[in-house]
Symmetry: C2
Subunit: 253 residues, 2 copies
Amino acid sequence: MCELLGMSANVPTDIRFSFTALAKRGGATGPHADGWGISFYEQKGCRNFHDPNPSATSELAALVRNYPIKSKTVIAHVRKANRGRVALENTHPFTRELWGRAWTFAHNGQLKGVKALPLSFFRPIGTTDSEHAFCWILDQLVRKYMDYPPARVLDKEVKRLFGELRKMGVFNALLTDGRSLYASCSKKLTYIQRRAPFGRATLIDAEMQVDFAQETTPDDKVIIIATQPLTHDEVWTVVAPGASLIFRAGEVV
Amino acid sequence: MCELLGMSANVPTDIRFSFTALAKRGGATGPHADGWGISFYEQKGCRNFHDPNPSATSELAALVRNYPIKSKTVIAHVRKANRGRVALENTHPFTRELWGRAWTFAHNGQLKGVKALPLSFFRPIGTTDSEHAFCWILDQLVRKYMDYPPARVLDKEVKRLFGELRKMGVFNALLTDGRSLYASCSKKLTYIQRRAPFGRATLIDAEMQVDFAQETTPDDKVIIIATQPLTHDEVWTVVAPGASLIFRAGEVV
């Protein structure tokens, strides 16, 4: 098992509060000590931090927790290795360029036989099932569409591909091109939308409380999606097993 | 003008000494204040730090200067923007996956008409001439070879593509797949090989001296390539304008 964290917001939003909880689960309050990674979008650019060391004790994770990077789209992951040795190239999120955008992907679960899926253009650098699945998704997309299809067409196709992968095992996953955040739930995924009127929230994994009313404007909308709820005083929506969800600019599409 | 830094070594080597000098040139001892980036290989994995802020004052650059990441292959770049606005997506080095390896590229110079070169598979995320040139190189390679060609074949083809780009303007560039470090010199590039017997070296841009004899074993070989010499008490080899060089495991191929 690994843990996933994703964010979709309509304004650049600080992820540190949520990342602090996730990072704790990487070796302190959780067993996911085989590396961690986080990808932030900054307009079309994408910033990636990866570390095969436990996030709870990682120097790089400490930097990320203290670095005020604001982003509209974030994917993060803490890893408990099952397939693929503990190494930088096996550390999620994975990133590739497609149609002139950076695509990012993180996965939790195991996919039986996924490596038998043929790949032509996108190839894994590491040895995880997850990266193979990511490459397969992008390969399928580029075979079908030479350029960006309309959002509705792309949304439908990504959901279809997610459905194919869920047939192969456990596919809790987050995928983004920096605009849309696609989520697949096989077993366990939960999300929350924060919007006005904003209140307080308290982390489960760390002694940390935020009053979002102090940090936001009335028009801000932020979706946080995670394997398990990160706060104990907010209402999280449990995603139904077998569902795919799409978020854009802090809204469920 | 921008400044380039590359390293090829036969053992994982600490780049901090050289990076300290380069980072200083990003806004302190040099005018390259429009961002910086560095890519380290760790086996097949590649770690990237990018920042559109001046490296001389960047918090992230301070982390990299203090973080003991050892690598056999490194590319770094400090930027003085001429084409493409100051933004994360325009910050070198650029990275793409080809044939299951991470390829990294950084460039200094301007290429007239490079954006007219057609691209099919690899597309720029940002708006620089440099990223377009990088995508063109990879596009040409993947059209010609579906899988990794033998090193000698690949070396020859990369040199040919570098030659084509040098005809379009100034193309001082570094390209790597983590194994081979390819360098193109239009105008200005210099390198040094450090090997036993190791001595002391003193940076030009910062008050810093290293006694490599304390840091190395007798078998270590390290090539450092840069726009300008980084130390004032070692002999740097000036690369001839119009030349392409290839380094592997700390040796000139």
